[in-house]
């Protein structure tokens, strides 16, 4: 705004006006990339909606999902079955045998498989049951390190389809995680990429960016 205090200070070379290079080289590089400033083609929104409408008009029977209500449209390609088959093919199944939740003697392990979000990573977990909860020993040294407010987080999925966070870490080399949950309720373990959030945030849900996972079943 012409005549504002900021402008008068700026014009006078007041050092309180921050230099334009405070963003850092990586951001500067992106800001200098024409691809970041591209204008979206006119009418692309209509073409996207038309593509969806066209698929809806072809019509496939809806794919029922658990606990879902009636649908207003009937378009759902049957991808859930294919996704389940892929999980079985790549995830494998590890059987939990007689975990009684006793005292550190009940133990199982599982191999972690990559979702493809990060190439060429794998790992394994060994889960030991204690009265205080489940100790999860993670070995995934191929995970690239995340720093600067970014990290990984482990999750257990329960038999009622809820996620339980089990801890955060920078890399997968010799990590110990803990979960306050009964072993017989655990059906899967996963690792996601996460970022730091404000402490005032009421909720800390998974980003959904799964990098490694293992299916387990009691």
């Amino acid at each position: 705004m012409i005549g504002s205090d900021d402008e008068r200070r700026a014009s006078a070379g007041d050092p309180s006006v921050a230099p334009d290079d405070e963003l850092g080289a990586s951001i500067d590089t992106l800001l200098a990339d024409a691809a970041l400033w591209v204008e979206v083609p006119d009418g692309l929104d209509e073409r996207v909606v038309a593509a969806v409408r066209s698929e809806a008009a072809v019509g496939e029977p809806p794919t029922p999902t658990p606990n879902s209500g009636p649908r207003r449209t009937s378009v759902r390609p049957a991808l859930l079955g294919a996704a389940a088959a892929i999980l079985l093919l790549f995830g494998g199944v590890v059987v939990l045998s007689a975990l009684s939740g006793a005292s550190g003697t009940d133990r199982f392990s599982a191999d972690l498989v990559s979702t493809g979000l990060i190439a060429d990573v794998d790992g394994s977990i060994e889960v030991t049951s204690f009265s205080s909860g489940l100790r999860i020993d993670l070995d995934a040294p191929s995970l690239p390190r995340r720093d600067g407010g970014r990290f990984y987080e482990g999750w257990l999925r329960t038999d009622d389809d809820k996620l339980v966070p089990v801890g955060t870490f920078h890399d997968g080399d010799g990590v110990t995680l803990w979960a306050g949950i009964e072993p017989e309720r655990v059906v899967a373990f996963s690792i996601t990429m996460e970022r730091a959030v404000a402490p005032a945030s009421p909720d800390q849900s998974s980003s959904g960016d799964v990098v490694l996972k293992a299916d387990v079943s009691p």
Binding site: D6, W37, L44, G149, S201
Partner: protein
């Protein structure tokens, strides 16, 4: 530990402030119900960012448009597997990146002429696609740019993309140099706040934005 999906309101990741994430949840529920208007709303919110990601990978507007259409079709098809309470942004960015890589590979398999005849800017000559983290950065920076006021965005564009000085920008826009500096200062402060997670740790700057989750605080 909370087991229910919930929002990420108040994240340092400011392109997902609480109201937007709450709207994402409503949008996800509508999408899962097969509501075509939800696709339109989803595109309105993220279409530009998806197109930017695709264009960044492919360097071709036509292919980027193809990828954008594919991304939203995939979102529509897979809405059942998307948990309300998650944010759409990383999900869509991942779909877009993978689709763009697929297009890149497809185009590389086309019959090729002499290498010397190829346009140096041809994306098929690029040997490695951007990583997921690089795509995250592209997404974040574009979202931060889009959130600027138009007059601030134009100053930033002329500074960084065109390489103009303040004086040159003032001349081009027909405004005072002080106005340019002021707009630049405000814009860069906003960008620094929104993109703090992309800035190097050794930048020697004062912390900008709320303290991080990794520092503990209310999570204890």
């Amino acid at each position: 530990a909370s087991a229910a999906p919930h929002t990420l309101g108040g994240s340092v990741h400011e392109f997902r402030p609480a109201p937007v994430v709450a709207e994402d949840r409503e949008l996800a529920l509508a999408l899962r119900e097969g509501d075509e208007d939800a696709v339109r709303a989803l595109y309105a919110r993220y279409g530009g960012l998806v197109f930017t990601v695709a264009n960044r990978v492919l360097g071709d507007r036509q292919w980027a448009e193809e990828v954008t259409q594919h991304t939203f079709l995939q979102a529509w098809r897979n809405a059942d597997s998307f948990e309300p309470g998650r944010a759409f942004a990383p999900w869509l960015a991942t779909i877009a990146r993978r689709a763009a890589i697929d297009v890149q590979r497809r185009e590389r398999r086309r019959p090729a002429g002499a290498l010397d005849d190829a346009d140096a800017a041809d994306s098929a000559l690029v040997s490695l696609p951007p990583s997921a983290e690089q795509i995250e950065a592209v997404w974040d920076v574009r979202a931060a740019i889009d959130a600027l006021a138009p007059e601030e965005r134009e100053v930033v564009r002329l500074q960084h993309l065109e390489g103009y000085s303040h004086a040159q920008i003032a001349d081009r826009l027909g405004i005072a140099v002080g106005t340019v500096k002021s707009r630049s200062h405000r814009a860069h402060r906003r960008l620094a706040t929104r993109l703090d997670h992309l800035r190097p740790e050794d930048a020697g700057r004062e912390p900008i934005g709320p303290p991080s989750r990794s520092e503990g605080g209310d999570l204890q």
